[in-house]
């Protein structure tokens, strides 16, 4: 188990390194490939009104002329130990973890991210609870009663669910339940109250996004669970369990579901990590001030360091979620530890 743990940890660190390289490449290499000069990139930092001379000096001082390896090293050092941006007229401090420094707002990105994280986290946790309960139970029941009316209805609904983009269902839900006259019962988008301030209002503002997001994922999970259950219930060890005279309930819950649901744990870890790293579409649809909305607003304002911050943070969440899932998996399924 210890060897397994260490191997997984090393894997996660390597993954973080690769992701940091990819992020670095997107924000420093891709613009150059697309034709941006070091001066052009530095001008983002000193402002568009700066003279060409100033931009040149800034490019030098910010190190845009250094070899890529040196630039990448500085980028990593910034994340671990903090960074200083000396752009000529002044020096900006960016304490660790420096995931970016916005030269438009003259603020490090990290405190902003910490501000936005609770919103995204609230959205993700609430929706995850809903979709796990609905998706898994629907999938299991559908598989056990294959071909029944329930199965057909649930699978039709699930197919519709995976074919509907969230920004459409979200918009319709707002039209009907927030702005539509007869049923305007839920909060209109754009509001968020911290749970510490008023739990009731917190839930009231999030209930519509929760349901919409959960519907999408519940549809996927119902399909996955049903397929997994059908496969597992056809296995030999299920027949063995029945032959031993176990009651059906034990066969389904202890033998069937355990086998069918373990792969879903992996998928859930990934999905949840991705969601915490920015539920971009849901947050834009409902104007929730979370990480995803932060990134999208930053793209619109061409405030790239903010986007970089979200990218790094979301990559971290995905890697972290993967690690947790791997460890959980090893606990649930002993075969994993041996291979």
């Amino acid at each position: 188990m210890v060897t397994y743990l260490i191997r997984r940890l090393i894997g996660a660190v390597i993954m973080l390194l690769i992701v940091s390289m990819a992020t670095f490449a997107i924000f420093f290499l891709v613009p150059q490939i697309a034709g941006a000069t070091p001066e052009g990139m530095a001008s983002r930092y000193v402002g568009r009104t700066a003279s060409a001379e100033d931009a040149k000096i800034a490019a030098d001082r910010l190190g845009f002329n250094d070899p890529l390896v040196v630039q990448y090293g500085r980028f990593i050092k910034g994340i671990v130990a903090g960074a200083e941006f000396d752009y000529g007229p002044g020096v900006e401090q960016c304490p660790p973890p420096c995931l970016g420094y916005s030269f438009i707002t003259r603020q490090p990105v990290w405190p902003d991210l910490l501000d936005r994280l609770p919103v995204t986290l609230s959205l993700a946790v609430g929706a995850a609870v809903l979709w796990l309960i609905i998706g898994l139970s629907t999938g299991v029941i559908s598989a056990l009663r294959r071909g029944s009316v329930f199965d057909r209805a649930a699978m039709t609904l699930a197919l519709a669910g995976v074919s509907l983009p969230i920004f459409f269902t979200g918009l319709i839900s707002l039209l009907v339940f927030s702005y539509g006259n007869p049923f305007a019962v839920f909060a209109q988008g754009g509001h968020y109250t911290p749970i510490t301030e008023n739990p009731g209002e917190w839930a009231y503002n999030l209930i519509l996004p929760w349901i919409t997001l959960a519907f999408l994922f519940a549809a996927q999970y119902a399909r996955l669970t049903r397929a997994g259950m059908l496969e597992t219930m056809g296995e030999d060890y299920i027949r063995t369990a029945r032959a031993k005279g176990l009651i059906e309930r034990t066969v389904v819950v202890k033998h069937g579901m355990r086998g069918a649901l373990t792969p879903i744990v992996t998928i859930f870890g990934l999905d949840f990590g991705l969601l915490v790293g920015g539920a971009v579409l849901t947050e834009s649809t409902y104007s929730l001030p979370g990480l995803g909305k932060y990134a999208i607003d930053a793209i619109t304002n061409n405030d790239l360091p903010k986007v970089m911050g979200v990218t790094l943070l979301s990559a971290f969440f995905v890697v972290f979620a993967n690690l947790i899932v791997d460890l959980l998996y090893a606990v649930v399924d002993p075969r994993v530890r041996l291979s």
């Binding site: 319709i172 990934l270 579409l281």
Partner: protein
């Protein structure tokens, strides 16, 4: 003199030998799959809708000529200057404007939805082709050669699958200037989106191809070909690839709807193909501001839904037809 030999064909057909041959006549996998698919009416309906949508996308200018207006033309005379809404009832739906008018600018919604199919399908198809090419090549290399090559490619696939895709895609799509790689305007955006969507999705195909190659590699017909002196390229292209066509076909059909959703999401977020070129996602993003005009959200949204659903139905049917184990 022995018994007379009957040389007429009739007798030979009637002989037990001939009848036996007819009974065990071999059917290829494709024939079997087609036989199953023919009986799956839901999948066939999906296929018909898919064909119809491709037809609409190709002949968009013709269709718009017949039943719509120029998708870029403003009709501000039909917009109420106070509310910014179309003057007529139900968003201005009339025989001139089948889906009504866009609020604010008054562009014809029907034409924009029809033209939106072009961008959507074009990007989804090209991105799928890109994914399939990368995924098949790398998947086959990994599965066939094994060893450290396999380890490297498999790890790369894990890395790609664990990437925060949407955020990365937004970052790349947002960072590229309006002029790059010698391309501008819609061409650049389409090429960019195809690259982003296609490049990030190849591991889905890659994994399946790798797994299939791994099991096919050990089969007798490969040994037979090798013992007859076939070289590696021959085995890869003439022995393995034909056997991989079915799974590749099935999973690329299932990749198209997810690519359509991906493109729509990027357009919705404002990093897709730029306005005024009509895209379904872009229209939905405009619709957010005009929540009093439901028709504005409903038509492009339904267009996405119908397209994705049709591809999903057809893809599911295709998978069931080729893989009897997954029968519903």
């Amino acid at each position: 003199m022995t018994a007379p030999v009957d040389v007429s064909g009739k007798a030979e057909q009637a002989s037990p030998d001939g009848a036996g041959r007819k009974a065990v006549q071999g059917r290829s996998l494709t024939q079997i799959a087609w036989g199953r698919l023919k009986r799956d009416y839901v999948a066939l309906a999906g296929a018909v809708v898919v064909l119809l949508l491709i037809f609409i996308a190709i002949f968009a200018p013709l269709i718009v000529n017949l039943w719509g207006q120029d998708p870029l033309q403003f009709n501000q005379d039909q917009i109420d200057s106070g509310t910014l809404m179309p003057k007529g009832d139900y968003g201005g739906i009339s025989s001139d404007h089948l889906f009504g008018l866009e609020p604010l600018n008054g562009r014809d919604l029907f034409s924009r939805v029809v033209y939106g199919a072009r961008i959507s399908l074009l990007i989804a198809f090209l991105a799928t082709i890109l994914s399939v090419v990368i995924g098949t090549v790398l998947g086959m290399i990994a599965g066939f050669f094994g060893g450290w090559v396999d380890t490297l490619i498999s790890r790369a696939m894990d890395v790609f699958l664990a990437f925060p895709l949407l955020v990365f895609a937004i970052a790349i799509a947002g960072i590229i200037p309006d002029q790059a790689f010698g391309l501008t305007g819609d061409t650049l955006r389409v090429a960019l989106l195809v690259f982003i969507i296609g490049f990030f999705n190849w591991p889905y195909i890659g994994r399946i191809v790798r797994g299939q190659t791994l099991s096919l590699r050990e089969r007798e017909f490969v040994d037979a070909a090798r013992s007859l002196g076939a070289r590696t390229p021959y085995i890869i292209f003439r022995e393995l690839l034909p056997n991989l066509m079915a799974p590749i076909l099935v999973y690329s059909t299932l990749l198209i709807p997810s690519n359509i959703l991906f493109e729509a999401a990027l357009s919705f977020l404002g990093v897709g193909v730029r306005p005024p070129t009509p895209t379904w996602g872009g229209m939905l993003s405009d619709a957010v501001r005009f929540y009093t005009a439901p028709h504005f959200a409903v038509f492009p949204g339904l267009a996405i839904f119908v397209t994705v659903l049709a591809f999903n139905l057809f893809g599911d049917g295709l998978r069931d037809a080729f893989d009897p184990r997954s029968r519903r």
